[in-house]
C-alpha cells in the first residue's frame, strides 16, 4: 500500500514539474522562439514539397487589356540571411492592348526577381529578372536595381508585406491573395492564367 502511494506521489510530482519548468522561459524568449519558428516557416509555402507557390495579388484593366500580378510565396533564397527573402513577382499582360504602366510597355510576361530586406522594409530587383515580349524577344536584367521602400505604390508595398509579414504569409487568402498553382516555370503559370482566367 505504501509502495503504491509512493509511486503515485512520484508520478504526480513528475506531472507538475513540466509546467513549472516551462514557466522559467520568459515571454521575450517565447517570442524569440516563435520568431525563429516563423523565420524557418518563411522558407516554406505549404505543402513543403512545393518548389513554387504562386498567388495572384493584384490586377487592373478590362478585357482584352487586363494586367495581372502574381507573387511566389516560396522564398527562392538560400536562407543564409534570415532577414533577406527572395520573392519573385510575375506580371502578365493580356495583350498588346493592355495599358502600359510607366516606361516598361507591354510584355507577354515579366518576372521581377526581387530581393526583400525585411529589416529595412526595402526591395530591389535581382539580375535574374526576366522578360518575354509578345514578339518573342526575351532578355534578363543582368544587374541589380536600386533599393526602394516603394512607398505609395500599392502593389509593391504588398510584395514587401507578403515577403516579411507573418500574418500575410501564414494567411494569404485573408489578405486578398488567391492561390494559382505551384508551377516551377513562370511561363507555365502565365499559360495557366491565359487559359483559365482569361480564356485565351
Amino acid at each position: 500500500m505504501t509502495r503504491i502511494v509512493k509511486s503515485l506521489l512520484a508520478a504526480a510530482t513528475a506531472l507538475v514539474a513540466m509546467p513549472l519548468g516551462a514557466q522559467t522561459v520568459s515571454e521575450a524568449e517565447r517570442e524569440a522562439i516563435r520568431e525563429e519558428i516563423f523565420l524557418e516557416g518563411i522558407r516554406d509555402c505549404k505543402p513543403a514539397s512545393m518548389t513554387r507557390c504562386w498567388y495572384v495579388f493584384y490586377g487592373v484593366g478590362d478585357k482584352p487589356g487586363r494586367k495581372l500580378w502574381l507573387l511566389d510565396l516560396k522564398d527562392q533564397s538560400d536562407g543564409k540571411k534570415k532577414h533577406i527573402v527572395y520573392t519573385d513577382v510575375l506580371v502578365i499582360d493580356e495583350s498588346t492592348k493592355t495599358k502600359p504602366m510607366g516606361a516598361q510597355g507591354t510584355s507577354d510576361f515579366l518576372v521581377w526577381a526581387n530581393e526583400v530586406d525585411c529589416k529595412k522594409r526595402q526591395m530591389r530587383m535581382r539580375p535574374e529578372s526576366f522578360g518575354l515580349g509578345f514578339d518573342g524577344q526575351s532578355g534578363t536584367a543582368g544587374q541589380y536595381g536600386e533599393w526602394s521602400n516603394w512607398k505609395g505604390v500599392a502593389f509593391m508595398e504588398k510584395v514587401i508585406a507578403a515577403s516579411c509579414d507573418k500574418q500575410v504569409r501564414l494567411r494569404p487568402l485573408a489578405y486578398e491573395m488567391a492561390w494559382v498553382g505551384d508551377y516551377v516555370r513562370p511561363i507555365d503559370a502565365v499559360d495557366f492564367v491565359r487559359r483559365y482566367l482569361w480564356e485565351q
Binding site: T51, L132, G136, S138, Y183, R185, I187, D188, D191
Partner: protein
C-alpha cells in the same frame, strides 16, 4: 605556363570517365538548368485508341458502330515534361529493361526532375502546348481517362457438379446386361453470369520526346 595549364585542364576533363563527371553533377541544379527558359515550343495531342462503344439510335435501338476502333483524347489532363537529367535517363533505361516503365516508377526514380519540370493542361480536344523550352530530350507524362465496353463476370452463387463414373459392363450373349462401377469423380464449379458494361479506365502515356532546335515549334502530332 599558365596558358599551358589552361589548355591541359579541359583536355583532362574531357578524358575523365563519364561516371566521374556524372557523379559531380548536382541533380537539382541539372534539372533546373534543363528546364530554364528556351525559345522553343512543343505541341501535340494526347489520346488513346479503344474498341468503339456500342451506340443506340433515337429510338434506343442498338446501332453498329462505323468502325471497330475509335480515338479518345485527354481532356483537361495535366501534361508533365521531365527534363532529361542523368537520373531520368537512368530510370528510363532501367524501366525499358527489367522493370516496366510505369509512371509511379519514373516519378520515384526521377529525382529532382519530379519537382523541376514543365507542366500544362490539355484542351478539350486533347491538344497541348508547352512554351519556353530549350531544345533537347524530355520525357512526356500524361494520362487519358476513357470508357470502354467490357464484359464483367459475376458470381451467381450457384454451382454446377459434374460426376464421372467409370467401371465395366456385364455382357451376356454379346449384349450388355449390367454395369459395375469401380470409381466415381465429382467436379463442382461455380456458375458465372457474363454482363456487358461500360467501365472507366486510364491510359498512361510515358514518352521520350525531342524538342528540335532547328524549328520554333516541334509538333508531336497524335501522342499515344
Amino acid at each position: 605556363m599558365r596558358s599551358l595549364a589552361l589548355l591541359v585542364l579541359p583536355a583532362l576533363v574531357a578524358l575523365a570517365p563519364p561516371g566521374l563527371a556524372a557523379a559531380t553533377v548536382d541533380d537539382a541544379a541539372q534539372a533546373r538548368d534543363l528546364i530554364a527558359y528556351g525559345p522553343h515550343t512543343l505541341t501535340g495531342r494526347a489520346g488513346a485508341t479503344r474498341y468503339s462503344l456500342p451506340k443506340t439510335d433515337a429510338k434506343g435501338k442498338k446501332v453498329k458502330p462505323k468502325s471497330k476502333t475509335e480515338r479518345v483524347h485527354a481532356e483537361n489532363e495535366a501534361v508533365y515534361l521531365l527534363p532529361w537529367t542523368d537520373k531520368v535517363a537512368a530510370a528510363v533505361a532501367k524501366g525499358n529493361g527489367s522493370i516496366p516503365l510505369t509512371r509511379a516508377f519514373l516519378l520515384t526514380e526521377a529525382g529532382a526532375a519530379g519537382d523541376y519540370n514543365a507542366r500544362t493542361f490539355t484542351r478539350a480536344d486533347g491538344t497541348f502546348r508547352l512554351r519556353g523550352l530549350k531544345p533537347g530530350r524530355y520525357v512526356l507524362v500524361t494520362e487519358v481517362p476513357y470508357q470502354a465496353a467490357v464484359t464483367i463476370r459475376q458470381d451467381t452463387g450457384k454451382t454446377r457438379t459434374e460426376t464421372t463414373t467409370s467401371g465395366f459392363g456385364v455382357f451376356q450373349g454379346g449384349q450388355q446386361i449390367g454395369f459395375v462401377p469401380t470409381s466415381s469423380t465429382s467436379i463442382t464449379s461455380p456458375i458465372y453470369r457474363y454482363d456487358n458494361a461500360i467501365s472507366d479506365l486510364k491510359h498512361y502515356i510515358i514518352k521520350v520526346v525531342e524538342v528540335r532546335g532547328d524549328v520554333p515549334v516541334t509538333n508531336l502530332g497524335e501522342v499515344e
